[in-house]
Amino acid sequence: MMSPAHYLFLSLALFLIGCIGVVTRRNVIVILMSIELILNAVNINLVLFSRIFGDAAGQVFALFIIADAAAEAAIGLGIIVAFFRNRETVLADEMDLLKW
């Protein structure tokens, strides 16, 4: 039998993997993928607690997040493609136009 802690640990693991990916990776596409991981970690938590408390709102919320993630991926990839056309790079540390 799986206790809620298992789910939480899985979620925590995914979250940490996502965070480490966002912080350490240079490729923006990989960073976007890491953000997806973080979102999914949150999704797992939402679904878990929804089940525990018997409240469907958490699951509805998770569906919204999935839709949001899809939209975010579409827009994010669009931005990256446009940026690549201008600057010929997808590396985050070279995206320093706003730097002082």
């Binding site: 939480l8 966002v22 990776r25 923006v28 607690f49 136009l97 730097k99």
Partner: protein, 706 residues
């Protein structure tokens, strides 16, 4: 003045016709055909001539002592009281016309000769550019000249005086692309300015002395309201406020005479007239021989009342006149330009006229003016016809033997030459003889000079005639083939003027030869003596035999001059060069016209040029250098100071504020690394801190889940 005749009532039309012609030409002439120009300009002068003849006949029908017609069109200049030595005097100048015997003679000469010359110009100027311009100026000249001779006051006369000067300038410089022509125009204008200054001062002096500048009050009704110079002068004499020979009168007379020397080309202001020959020949005939240059003679004759009372001024006039006469005649001896010979001859004949005026023989002067207008206009027009037939050649050395090839030109020329030489019974004989007779009577020494001048005149005129028309032809062959008689429009005026030169003197047929001298009687009312009692010019009371003797003498010296010219230039054409070679200094002096132009250049022209150079230097160095450039320099220095203040103090403060802010913000700015990952790391770090802080809430939450 009993009834007003049409011509007298419309006397203002006489100057108006040419003015309309001139206005038409100068405003619209460019668009008119030559035929239209001829119609308007020559027609306007013809209308003036008709009106002048009508007016003169109307005046002639008056009683001889009341032959004055005066008409004031309007009050022209009304400046109010002007200051004078005897307190302020009311002053007024009318735009009014005065017709008396003197102006009768003048308007007939001006319109008559002027009309003939206009007709002549149709032929002479036919091939020239600026045809309408020429006729416009000529008509403007006619207007000015008629205003001059018809004016009833000195100021209006001065308007005409300046107008003719302007037209003279415009017409001398008619070929304005030729530098010598435009220079000659300027010279004429500037030299005349010198004379005009004197004339104007004379007018001012008259205005403050007599309080009026109107010539006479006759014909205007109230002699007090319409005061005239002649009446005021007579009244002042009667009251003893002026006497015979008063310095005021001498000063006025001399100042007016300065004006006359300028306009009538007398010593020392004659230098412009020879140069004025640069203008077209009809201009030389009309302006510089027949009419404009006689304006000075007319003016002195018009002011004869003042001159009669100023004996010293009279002597000056006579001496200047006779000196000019012989001086100019001697310069004419060696000239080779056909028109220049005639120009010096004109100066010389004008000298005769002034001699007559200076001797008190005013009507003799005007008589000579009239006859001279006939034969000198004829000489110029015939010379123009010669030039025309020789395709523009003016040099006497390239003429000769033309007498039979252009008879319609050469015969009138011969008549005019005989007339000017004083051969009876042509016009010049009577007028010149009258002057010489008066000279003998008054000052035998002046007579001697005048007598010698008569010989010189005959000599140089016949030299001109022989060189141009007789002897062997020296015309270049390519010109000789084109020799042609001038058109009818030129030869008919020549014929009419030749007729006038023949018979024009007969109206002054002297009493000693059985005539009545109508001319003098006609003019007498204007020229009557104003000298009180004893000083009167005594009537001619010398013996008849003396008069005959003088006539024979002057005809004799003229004949001698002709014989001399004949033997030097026809019989023995090499002789004159030998004579010239044996007197090289004298010949050089004459050829260079006594170096007068050079002396004037050295004395006046170059000094004025020096002065203008000095002024230019002053302008360049002081006005431009110190004033303009200095002000610019000062402004630059001030602005650079102000710029420094702006840059370092005003802008410096602003920049300091900005830099100070930037300095303060430096540590915070350093946070903005621009590296995406570090931002993400900081976000997570913050999240971790938040989680750590609110950790126990989490614990509660997690516990409750169990």
């Amino acid at each position: 003045m009993t009834s007003t005749n049409y011509f007298l009532a419309h006397i203002w039309l006489i100057p108006l016709f040419p003015l309309i012609g001139a206005a038409l030409m100068l405003f619209f002439g460019r668009h008119l055909q030559k035929e239209a120009v001829n119609l308007f300009c020559v027609g306007s002068v013809f209308l003036s001539f008709i009106h002048a003849v009508g007016a003169v006949f109307a005046l002639h029908s008056f009683d001889p002592d009341h032959r004055v017609f005066q008409q004031i069109l309007f009050e022209w200049v009304t400046p109010g009281p002007i200051p004078a030595p005897g307190g302020p005097i009311p002053f007024v100048a009318d735009w009014g016309y005065l017709l008396d015997p003197l102006s009768c003679v003048m308007i007939l000469v001006v319109t008559g000769v002027g009309f003939l010359i206009h007709v002549y110009s149709i032929g002479y100027m036919g091939h020239e550019g600026g045809y309408y311009r020429f006729f416009g100026y000529m008509n403007l000249f006619m207007f000015s000249m008629l205003t001059l001779v018809l004016a009833n006051n000195l100021l209006l006369l001065f308007v005409g005086w300046e107008g003719v000067g302007l037209c003279s300038y415009l017409l001398i410089g008619f070929y304005f692309l030729k530098k010598s022509a435009s220079d000659a125009g300027k010279k004429a204008f500037i030299v005349n300015r010198v004379g005009d200054t004197g004339f104007l001062l004379g007018i001012f002096y008259i205005a403050v002395t007599f309080g009026t500048i109107r010539f006479t009050s006759v014909g205007l009704g109230d002699p007090v309201a319409f005061a005239g110079i002649n009446q005021t002068l007579a009244a002042m004499l009667e009251q003893g406020r002026l006497i015979y020979g008063a310095p005021v009168l001498t000063a006025i007379a001399l100042l007016l005479f300065v004006g006359a020397t300028g306009k009538s080309a007398q010593l020392p202001l004659y230098v412009w007239l020879p140069d004025s020959m640069e203008g077209p020949t009809p201009v030389s005939a009309l302006i510089h021989a027949a009419t404009m240059v006689t304006a000075g003679v007319y003016m002195v004759a018009r002011m004869n009342a003042i001159y009669q009372l100023a004996p010293f001024a009279m002597d000056v006039v006579a001496v200047v006149g006779v000196t000019t006469a012989i001086f100019a005649a001697s310069m004419a001896l060696t000239q080779n330009d056909i028109k220049r010979v005639l120009a010096y001859s004109t100066i010389s004949q004008l000298g005769y006229m002034f001699l007559a005026l200076g001797l008190g023989a005013f009507s003799a002067g005007i008589f000579h003016l009239m006859t001279h207008a006939f034969f000198k206009a004829l000489l110029f027009l015939a010379a123009g016809s010669v030039i025309h037939s020789l395709s523009g050649e003016q040099d006497l050395r390239k003429m000769g033997g033309l007498y039979n090839s252009i008879p319609a030109t050469s015969r009138p020329f011969l008549i005019a030459t005989l007339a000017i030489a004083g051969i009876p019974p042509l016009a010049g004989f009577f007028s010149k003889d009258e002057i010489l007779g008066r000279a003998f009577e008054r000052h035998p020494s002046l007579w001697v000079i005048g007598f010698l001048t008569a010989g010189l005149t005959a000599f140089y005129m016949f030299r001109l005639l022989f060189l141009a028309f007789f002897g062997l032809s020296r015309v270049p062959p390519e010109v000789e083939r084109h020799i042609h008689e001038s058109p009818k429009s030129m030869t008919v005026p020549l014929a009419i003027l030749a007729f006038l030169s023949l018979v024009g003197g007969w109206i002054g047929w002297p009493s000693s030869l059985g005539g009545v001298n109508q001319f003098e009687h006609f003019l007498e009312p204007v020229m009557k003596s104003v000298i009180p009692e004893t000083g009167a010019v005594e009537a001619a009371n010398h013996a008849r035999s003396l008069e005959y003797l003088l006539m024979i003498a002057s005809v004799g010296i003229a004949a001698f001059g002709i014989w001399l010219a004949h033997s030097l230039y026809v019989k023995n054409p090499q002789l004159h060069t030998k004579i010239a070679a044996s007197w090289p200094r004298l010949h050089n002096l004459l050829v260079h016209k006594y170096y007068v132009d050079e002396i004037y250049d050295a004395l006046f022209v170059n000094r004025i040029k020096d002065l203008s150079t000095a002024f230019a230097l002053f302008d360049g160095k002081v006005i431009d250098g110190l004033g303009v450039d200095g002000a610019g320099w000062l402004a630059r220095v001030l602005s650079s100071i102000s710029m420094w203040w702006d840059k370092w103090i005003v802008d410096g403060l602003v920049n300091f504020v900005a830099k100070f802010t930037r300095f303060l913000s430096h540590p915070i700015r350093m946070l903005q690394t621009g590296v995406f990952s570090s931002y993400a790391f900081l976000i997570l770090l913050g999240l971790a801190i938040l989680l750590a802080y609110y950790g126990h809430h989490m614990q509660v939450l997690v516990r409750s889940l169990r």
